[in-house]
Symmetry: C2
């Protein structure tokens, strides 16, 4: 029905997450209205990103070098490693702008549902990094069953080598009590702090 090259573009857009036929059509139509230079840019950037972005050999974060900017930054605190399941989370924490240590990207979480075992994750390479002077491993994993299991596994495995901490649970800032689920409320009560 659509001209062939338009049909092919629509089909291609469907590889994007959450993009169905309607959205793909909207995107493709919009592309036809854009300046050629901007479309060329998108086309080139797709290839380039796919080509250049690799995992950092030390922390498995995404980088266009062999070892990422964070791992090679001497001004960062080399004694702290924040463990996240994927690179996007590391970037989220970076955006916060408060953390000055290093990262380690697991590449997933232990999951019985997906059949992900500890040996499928970047845990051995984390183990090797702990041989250097690392004093604290901060687990910043999802507050889900899989995040919990992985946190427990890692704290058991590394707890004797160094301090293993995890992010606090509680009410999100700006969150209303009404909307908090029971588990969150329970965790918020357990973790209550004395006001000063």
């Amino acid at each position: 029905m659509y001209p062939k090259s338009l049909e092919k573009l629509i089909e291609s857009f469907r590889i994007l997450p959450g993009v169905g036929q309607k959205t793909a059509e909207r995107y493709a139509m919009h592309i036809l209205d854009q300046d050629l230079s901007r479309v060329d840019e998108l086309s080139v950037n797709l290839k380039e990103a796919k080509d250049k972005i690799k995992e950092c050999e030390v922390c498995h974060n995404l980088t266009d070098q062999t070892i990422c900017d964070i791992c090679t930054d001497d001004y960062r605190d080399q004694s702290m490693i924040c463990v996240v399941s994927n690179a996007k989370e590391a970037f989220s924490i970076e955006r916060m702008g408060e953390y000055n240590g290093l990262y380690h990207v697991l590449g997933g979480l232990i999951s019985t549902k997906k059949g992900t075992l500890p040996e499928d994750l970047n845990i051995e390479s984390l183990n090797n990094r702990l041989k250097n002077d690392v004093s604290e491993v901060i687990l910043a994993l999802n507050a889900t069953v899989e995040g919990e299991i992985t946190s427990l596994y890692l704290s058991k495995k590394f707890g004797e080598q160094c301090k293993v901490s995890r992010l606090a649970f509680g009410l999100p800032i700006g969150g209303h009590l009404d909307y908090a689920d029971e588990m969150t409320l329970m965790k918020a009560f357990e973790g209550r702090n004395k006001m000063e």
Copy 2:
């Protein structure tokens, strides 16, 4: 914060309609997980569509030829022209599979807000087409103020040359009376049909 080529890809994705920073990040991350071949395909298809898709010289619909498949199809009813504001709408009507006439894409609607005047639209070329044996012009424009104004303008302009009709207004199929706005209800009453 992100590696440069990833940052550039995220920026590029933001040319898509309704795609903000968060979605662009999600798309870019997803791209990194895809097979190289599929990403290459998207990259190539973007360029190709932008390169090949043009307006049909007769009806201004999108095509990869000089004159589109619909205009050159002898099996279609050459005496009916359905007027739509953009190509996407022509494809929607095609998908319905009931209409067998030709199309004419205006390229917009008359709009005081956007400053779109009749001479900015493909109305002169529609006028030229009516010199051939066209017996009916079907206006399939949005049921909005702009669609109304454009419909009125076209019916005044062409009403003496040939029959000008427009799509019916009324309740959408599956629609509940409760949810219909007053204008729709009014139109549905006005257009009521005798049951047989």
